[in-house]
């Protein structure tokens, strides 16, 4: 999971001077939202990756022309969108996006804008998972990342199935809570620990 959703000015300066490490940091920050965004057009993973890779390559070629992360982001999303629209135009790709775009001509723009916002919002939300307490993070990652069923997780974590189920919905709730208020989260966790220890009758 990539951490933050921002990058500092010094890294941007290094990037514009052609520093490979800095480019990698920009890449790390934006490749997932960008692939996800491209995937909404292509409906296909490999093509989405190709589209994102091409956009990053173009970014690298023009690296001296960007003064802010906002400018880089705008360039990358715009480039991916244009490439994807070209791809869809030149190829009969039967995909969700294609059908949507074909159904409402001229409205491709609101589609791109919504999906860009979705990608960026998911980046913020998913970055939080890495910060959840171990117990919940493990359950979320096992079920989300590795597509394990509750049964399989129970087996691997040596827990009862309904425990895993409870942990999972708890983890989702915590994910929301952690975005809401850090203090509240700590309080909830403390209370949960007490509950787990059996001070309340179950």
């Amino acid at each position: 999971m990539n951490g933050g959703t921002d990058i500092n000015q010094a890294i941007l300066a290094d990037f514009s001077k052609g520093d490979e490490q800095a480019f990698r940091q920009v890449f790390d920050l934006l490749f997932r939202p960008l692939c996800f965004f491209a995937g909404k057009f292509t409906g296909q993973k490999e093509e989405a990756e190709d589209m994102a890779a091409q956009a990053f390559h173009k970014l690298w070629l023009r690296r001296d022309g960007f003064s802010s992360l906002a400018a880089i982001r705008s360039f990358l999303y715009t480039t991916v969108r244009n490439q994807c629209l070209d791809l869809l135009k030149h190829k009969e790709v039967v995909s969700h996006a294609h059908q949507q775009l074909a159904a409402v001509p001229g409205e491709a723009d609101t589609f791109s804008e919504s999906r860009m916002m979705q990608a960026e919002l998911l980046a913020v939300i998913f970055a939080e998972i890495g910060k959840l307490p171990e117990k919940y993070r493990v359950v979320l990652e096992l079920s989300f990342k590795e597509e394990l069923s509750v049964q399989e997780i129970a087996l691997r974590t040596n827990k009862a199935e309904n425990h895993v189920r409870a942990d999972r919905s708890r983890a989702l709730a915590l994910l929301r809570a952690s975005l809401k208020d850090k203090k509240l989260l700590d309080a909830a966790l403390a209370l949960w620990a007490v509950y787990e220890a059996g001070y309340f009758s179950k």
Binding site: F36, K45, Q118, E120, L121, L122, I125, F126, Q151, R156
Partner: protein, 386 residues
């Protein structure tokens, strides 16, 4: 072309807050309302974010994008930019040379001189593919694109993409047997008339009756399959594994690996209880245990379930796997023949890779261990070199 896309950070902050149930300022509320009203696309996105199932799918899609894969694709586009300054006469001379070379290369050849064009080939990963053999011996080819209902007497068989579902026949007509076979590079999922789910890995087969009647539910399997057996205490479920072992089940999840080129059968129990037997000997398994069958049955504890189940979850898990084991898996999934040339050490591997990668992408990853690979025969043969 449409105008550039710009990103509104304030709006994202308002959406994030609202998603997390945090109170919004007047300004933020206005931003949000305006955004929601602006287009049906926005509302669709918002709904996807607030539905737990949809969010889970987005998370999987998100994590399916691998950092190294995309980075490799990005840097691969970076070729050293060479500029050729050619004088006109040089260009003309080169053109003449090219024509001469073409004439030489394209000259008619005697058959034994013919060479195959050496192009870089890659092999696509396997996918949902299978053949269903019906009771009368006729076959139906199944792939990921199919959506159909196959009628066989009073039984309806529904195919939906990579899945097949049997619906129990309601009358007491005679029982017939069907066989689902996956080729190399194929996998398929089937739901039997009793609700039992079976995932078939590549180069495997499952023979089963179109209705379960009598005292037990008996199926035959070869290759590799994962079973989620529907509970029915009155009708025990029994698996005949390649005529070399039987597994008796009540209601349970287990994986069985019985490829012919493996020295032993491995049956791994995820939950419930099964009895694995061969030639009069048998062993009762507890969840997390694996039975290995060759002449007798031995039980292993502390099995790496994640590794056993990797294929069903769409990944190769090469943790502690020897070179030959890795190559067997690749040969089944990419339908390639493997040849070892020279003194190749039996290296141990580690790590996980998606089964949706192309062969070259997987090999790229494996080359980090110092083993080298070469694709020959138009992508049909993989040569392993030290």
């Amino acid at each position: 072309m449409q105008p550039d896309l710009s990103f509104n950070e304030q709006l994202r902050e308002a959406l994030r807050k609202h998603w997390a149930g945090q109170p919004l300022s007047e300004n933020e509320q206005a931003l949000l309302d305006e955004w929601l009203a602006a287009s049906p696309d926005n509302r669709a996105v918002w709904e996807e974010l607030n539905d737990e199932m949809a969010l889970e799918l987005q998370f999987r899609e998100w994590n399916g994008y691998d950092r190294e894969t995309v980075w490799r694709k990005t840097t691969a586009l970076r070729r050293p930019a060479k500029t050729y300054r050619l004088y006109r006469w040089a260009a003309a001379a080169a053109a003449i040379l090219l024509i001469a070379a073409a004439a030489y290369l394209l000259r008619p050849k005697s058959p034994d001189q013919q060479t195959v064009a050496q192009t870089v080939t890659d092999v696509a990963p396997g996918g949902s593919k299978a053949v269903l053999v019906l009771a009368d011996g006729s076959t139906v080819t199944l792939d990921s694109a199919g959506n159909q209902v196959i009628r066989q007497g009073s039984t309806a068989i529904r195919q939906q993409a990579g899945q097949l579902r049997y619906e129990a026949a309601d009358d007491a007509s005679e029982i017939s047997y069907n066989t689902l076979k996956t080729p190399r590079g194929g996998q398929f999922r089937i739901t039997l008339p009793d609700g039992t789910g079976v995932w078939l890995n590549a180069e495997s087969s499952l023979r089963f009756p179109t209705a379960f009647r009598g005292k037990e539910r008996l199926v035959e399997v070869s290759g590799e399959a994962y079973f989620e057996v529907a509970k029915d205490a009155a009708l025990p479920f029994r698996v005949n594994v390649a005529n070399r072992a039987t597994i008796e089940v009540l209601g349970t999840n287990f994986n069985v690996n019985a490829y012919e080129d493996e020295s032993e059968i491995a049956a791994t129990l995820l939950s419930g209880a099964v009895k694995v037997g061969t030639g009069g000997r048998s062993a009762l398994l507890k969840p997390g245990q694996q039975a290995r069958v060759n002449t007798g049955v031995s039980v292993m504890n502390g099995v790496d379930i994640e590794k056993v189940m990797a294929w069903k979850n769409g990944v190769f898990n090469f943790k502690d796997a020897k070179l030959k084991e890795v190559m067997k898996q690749l040969s089944r999934w990419y339908d390639i023949e493997v040849e070892y040339r020279g003194n190749v050490p039996d290296t141990e591997f580690w790590g996980k890779m998606g089964r949706n990668l192309t062969l070259l992408q997987v090999l790229n990853g494996l080359e980090a261990t110092g083993i080298h690979f070469k694709l020959e025969d138009n992508g049909k043969k993989l040569v392993v070199l030290p």
